[in-house]
Amino acid sequence: MLCSSARKPRWPMAFTACAALCVVTACSTPPRPANAVIIPGPASADERVIEDPVGQRFVLYDTVKKIAVSWTNVSNEFVYNFTTPSDLYTMGNSLTNHFSIVQLQNGRAVTVYTLPDAAHDAIFPLAADGQNAFFLLVHYRDDGSEEWRHIVRWDPTTRTLHPFVHVEGAIEQGALAGPTLYFTVLRPDRAVWLYRLPAANLNAEPQLVSTHWTDDPLLAYEGRLVKVADHQFVFDSIHLPVRAVNVLTPQGVLVQFDDDPKSLTTRADVFQLSDGRHLGSATSVEGVEWMPNGVQLDCDGRVEIVSWSYAGGEEENPS
């Protein structure tokens, strides 16, 4: 049973004890554990830490020279992002774990939460809407095999994680549609099941929505999930191809990242989902910075800014 009240998550009990550790670590500067992830720090006011969503790394970008000067380039250290604009990321090592939640603030990466069981736990962004953030917490055995997955809600005030009591199974993706949290679960027969539950209720029982869902990206806009068919996002009469990385803003602006087959660099494209308008693009993208109503694409040799109005649609594009 993938979503069951019969099997209680083990993590919440461990969490109580670990919460004290969290408070302690938040108030002091603990020694960096062995194998901890190293994030590049700006050496001057010209340098900012940005995220490379395709390379899954943080990049130190010189805003004057407009070049990337360094990266988080330790093997198997990767950065994971939400499918909505957020300054929260998770980062960890695929072999040794040591995951943490990292916030990009004014061009700097700040670790806001380190998992108490660094060797056995990993955490990945699941769903966020600007006010709320939910993560996928995965616990591994000593041999590296998975023991369980849970969805946890991030409390930014206390910097703590709170699990949904009745959610477990091979949870894969999530999306917030208004007050509802949707998530997919991969079944042993490779089928994908879609569930939903009220995002505010940690004790809620998940409701099964579909036993024939897909592993396509799970995005939500205007309180409903965006349909995906034949590897294309379908919104009313608009069809837009699914790319490697797809981020949907609350204004319905789809920001996509993928390989550019000509330059063999990262290409970004920005679309208005409601009418399919192409708002902007760039190649040689080294990383991205989210703005209140826009996105800054830090490229090799230039910076492209694509802005949109609060209601959606292009506002200005200096580039």
């Binding site: 990767f78 591994y140 095999s145 660099t265």
Partner: protein, 186 residues
């Protein structure tokens, strides 16, 4: 990207034998095709994935000797990322660069648009690295590969034996939230 650039690359890298056809440049700047054995340097690094998910291998191959055309030196190179295992591959990527010790404004390119790098106009040796480029397959293929020529010029401002080519293989498997990588260099 949803196609395999080179289906035969891995076989070529593993066999270490004949590369067919091989493109080389002769002294008169004309391009010729040869079936001859091409001496090369190669290496592979394999990462065993946790929990019996299989393994990921980074292969990199570069011809041992450069052909000289005028003032330029040219090597052939090939890179690949190969996943071995039963899991479904969401995407697999091969990512490469080369570097060499250069001086006096000499340059290096791996033949991809915008990847060239140039030493400053100084008589002292500098390690100069091409831009990192990559190729991703997200069509379920278990392999991603690429090949080309690396060109350095002028030959007199290249420190013999200093060229290095590095390939990083990265894979994302369906059902596993983690991404895995391994690098190899020659």
């Amino acid at each position: 990207m949803r196609r395999t650039m080179l289906n035969a690359i891995s076989a070529a890298v593993v066999s270490l034998a004949f590369v067919s056809p091989t493109v080389a440049a002769d002294e008169s700047n004309s391009i010729v095709t040869t079936q001859d054995y091409l001496p090369h340097t190669n290496t592979s690094q394999t990462l065993t994935l946790p929990s019996g998910e299989g393994s990921l291998t980074a292969n990199v191959w570069r011809s041992t000797f450069a052909s000289q055309t005028g003032n330029a030196l040219t090597w052939n190179w090939q890179v690949s990322a190969v996943y071995s295992g039963s899991r479904t591959v969401e995407w697999i990527r091969t990512q490469w660069y080369s570097q060499a010790d250069l001086r006096n404004g000499a340059s290096i390119t791996m033949g991809i648009s915008g990847d060239s790098a140039t030493a400053s106009y100084s008589s002292s040796w500098q390690t100069v690295r091409t831009q990192v480029k990559y190729w991703t397959n997200d069509n379920g293929a278990k392999e991603s590969d690429y090949r080309g020529n690396v060109v350095i010029g002028p030959q007199s401002d290249y420190k013999q034996g200093s060229i290095v080519t590095v390939n990083t293989a990265t894979v994302k498997l369906a059902g596993d939230p983690k991404t895995y990588a391994i690098s190899a260099g020659v």
